[in-house]
């Protein structure tokens, strides 16, 4: 869009007048248009009978663009994935922007374009929105909040409280790429490595799982805090232990390399397109086989199992065959990643 070149967002764009309409028409409506997105105060939606899932998430990633995506793509994936993890088909989203005065219009347009593309892929409509402009320095670039509604599929019930001894623990792909990408993109470390964010909308992946069996106990997306934090949460909620097989955990070599240099544990790096799945052992191989055919889950693997002993703990069988505790998540100071 050439008419946006060189322009920046000003406080007037957030004042509610003519310039606000311009911003909305040129940037947001151009990308988000659909019959349910109207100029009225609220969207009017039709829902089927049954249970809905409803969630919200704020995004403040720095930098707002990174290899493999930008904050726009992330803001759609985050909410779509939260709904998907509950076995809910994502239907509608709202999005609220807080934009720093002086933010380049072209960048904002790129963010909206990424949101459009990702929403289309996920089959979700953006039906409501809000834009505020904050003074220079009051926010960093752009912050986005998305809220979503999804329709829970019949016969599906997942929850972090439902892991059971005998369940297999599955990850839908290699772990830690998003967190690693953001660390490198911040250039605080002067390390170059070929890592791209795993950021992806995962409703299709969840459908793949449910096409094999609806008897799935837990599905979680391993975002902030990574797979390790998710596992500790579930062990705590379900009052079970979890035993991991270190050698089975898929980690890209470049991510391993960066973790080695910085002393980080890949299990604690954020993902934005990876699911952790708990399902009865007997279905695990079939789930993994199906996942490996999928676009975002070709590296899926069984990484461990749920145990009765040591409730609340996550232990690792290491590559030398010894059993150690996975150090519980700590208050590590990591940069803003989502």
């Amino acid at each position: 869009m050439d008419n946006l070149k060189g322009k920046t967002v000003s406080l007037a764009h957030g004042a509610g007048g003519k310039q606000t309409s311009e911003l909305i028409d040129q940037v947001f409506k151009a990308h988000f248009a659909n019959p349910e997105l109207t100029s009225d105060d609220a969207a009017v939606l039709k829902m089927k009978e049954g249970k809905i899932a409803f969630t919200t998430d704020g995004f403040i990633v720095s930098p707002s663009e990174f290899p493999g995506g930008n904050i726009g793509k992330l803001s759609i994936c985050g909410t779509v994935n939260d709904l998907s993890c509950m076995g809910a088909k994502p239907l509608y989203l709202s999005c609220a922007f807080v934009i720093e005065e002086g933010f380049p219009m072209e960048k904002l347009e790129a963010i909206a374009a990424a949101m459009e593309k990702t929403a289309n892929e996920a089959g979700v409509k953006i039906v409501a929105g809000d834009t505020k402009v904050a003074g220079k320095g009051q926010v960093d670039g752009v912050f986005i909040t998305t809220t979503g509604i999804g329709e829970i599929q019949e016969g599906v019930e997942t929850s972090g409280f439902m892991a059971k001894p005998g369940d297999a623990v599955i990850v839908s792909g290699d772990i830690g790429r998003h967190g690693c990408t953001i660390l490198l993109a911040r250039e605080d470390f002067g390390i170059d490595a070929d890592v791209t964010s795993d950021c992806a909308p995962l409703w299709g992946t969840v459908q793949d799982i449910l096409s094999v069996t609806k008897d799935v106990h837990v599905i979680r997306d391993a975002t902030r805090g990574g797979v390790g934090t998710v596992l500790y949460e579930i062990a705590e909620q379900s009052k079970t232990g979890i035993r991991l097989n270190a050698e089975a955990i898929p980690v890209q070599d470049s991510v391993k390399g960066v973790c080695g240099m910085l002393g980080l544990e890949p299990l604690y790096l954020a993902c934005e397109g990876r699911l952790v799945i708990f399902a009865p052992k007997e279905n695990a191989e079939a789930i993994v086989a199906k996942l490996r055919e999928g676009k975002y889950s070709s590296e899926a693997a069984i990484i461990g199992e749920v145990t009765e002993e040591m409730p609340g703990r996550v232990v690792v069988t290491t590559e030398i065959g010894a059993e150690t505790l996975l150090p519980p998540p700590g208050g590590e100071l990591l940069p803003r990643i989502c």
């Binding site: 002393g263 290491t318 590559e319 150690t324 208050g331 100071l333």
Partner: protein, 351 residues
């Protein structure tokens, strides 16, 4: 499990020789040994002691005080490895100094500090140069480049250390030393051979992968019962006899030996490095006339005893109570590579 790993593991688990105390000198070894669960497969008569090879752990409180003084009194921008930020000085840490307005910049290498100084000519920049033979060459290189670039706003606050004096001092704390492969990659093996031949100190150089670490244990458990001092280089793919000559040259060109204060161990003769007279424009102590700072550590903290293998982290009264990774009292609780931090994170309280 790989064949070589299996073989090494079988040797270790089947060890029925005399009791032996092994000190891993290097913090990265400490961390990896916990990470892999090596302690879990060692027979009870094999005792592992975590030595003083984590640069953060042996950095004295007085050094932190000097850095804080530069940041708060002289408005200097401090560039530092992230680990040092939470190490307690006499009364506060660099993190505290930052909240008081001090400018503390985290870097991954001395070269980043040099780059920062180049891009911020209106700031005085000091890099906190800690570490052993592995990191010292990079510190020297940053000074060399600063000189070549004509920078007048870059200096080092040096607390670099060398291992020989520490080995000498710790020789009664262990029967066998697990030498840090990365240090020997720079220094070569001459000193370790001399310690073995003249001082009767046994040791083995090894790397950091599971099979390198287990192989080293298997070899030392074979050798130890023979009763003769031994030295083995079990990391020949990286460590050569003469080490890295260019790195050694770089250190000699810019730095000279000095006595050095080790947190917990005290003053060790000739165990440190300082910038040579010719480079004193880059020596923060000279440049800013830093007053002498003695540095005090908490009397409750037993990091010194831990570093010498006189007690385990769990024997310390404040371990896991007043002293945790988020609120460290002693330096060994700060770094991921510190013995107390490793014990705490891997929950070895009852071990």
């Amino acid at each position: 499990m790989k064949e070589q790993l299996k073989k090494a593991k079988a040797i270790i688990e089947g060890y029925d020789g005399p009791a032996v105390r092994v000190m891993e000198v290097c913090g990265t070894h400490t961390h990896e040994i916990f990470h892999l669960g090596v302690r879990k497969i060692l027979p009870p008569q094999v005792e592992l002691i975590s030595g003083p090879g984590c640069p953060v752990c042996v950095t004295p409180a007085g050094f932190i005080d000097e850095a804080i003084w530069l940041a708060l009194e002289k408005n200097v921008t401090i560039c530092t490895f992230g680990d040092l930020v939470r190490v307690p000085g006499s009364t506060r840490s660099l993190a505290d100094a930052r909240s008081l307005g001090g400018k503390i910049q985290m870097v991954y290498s001395p070269m980043d500090a040099f780059e920062y100084a180049k891009e911020h000519k209106d700031e005085q920049v000091v890099f906190l140069s800690v570490g052993f033979e592995t990191t010292t060459p990079a510190s020297c290189l940053s000074v060399k480049m600063a000189k070549e670039a004509g920078l007048t706003n870059y200096a080092l606050l040096a607390a670099n250390k060398t291992m020989p004096g520490a080995y000498e001092m710790l020789k009664d704390s262990a029967d066998v030393f697990l030498y840090p492969g990365h240090v020997n990659a720079i220094t070569g093996n001459a000193l370790n051979r001399k310690l073995c031949e003249e001082g009767g100190i046994s040791g083995i150089v090894t790397g950091f992968t599971a099979s390198e670490i287990l192989t080293a244990f298997a070899v030392l458990l074979k050798k130890f019962p023979e009763g003769k001092p031994f030295f083995v280089n079990a990391y020949p793919r990286v460590v050569t006899e003469e080490g890295s000559i260019p790195a050694q040259k770089l250190i000699k060109e810019w730095m000279e030996p000095c006595d050095s204060q080790w947190r917990g161990l005290g003053m060790i003769k000739n165990s440190g490095l300082r910038l040579r007279k010719e480079a004193q424009d880059f020596d923060a102590r000279v440049k800013f006339s830093i007053p002498k700072m003695e540095g005090r550590t908490s009397p409750a903290c037993r990091c010194g005893d831990v570093l010498q293998g006189k007690c385990r982290p769990t024997d310390c009264k404040v371990f896991g109570k007043g002293c945790t990774p988020l609120h460290p009292i002693g330096a060994c609780m700060v770094s991921n590579e510190g013995a107390c931090s490793a014990y705490y994170q891997y929950n070895s309280r009852g071990e």
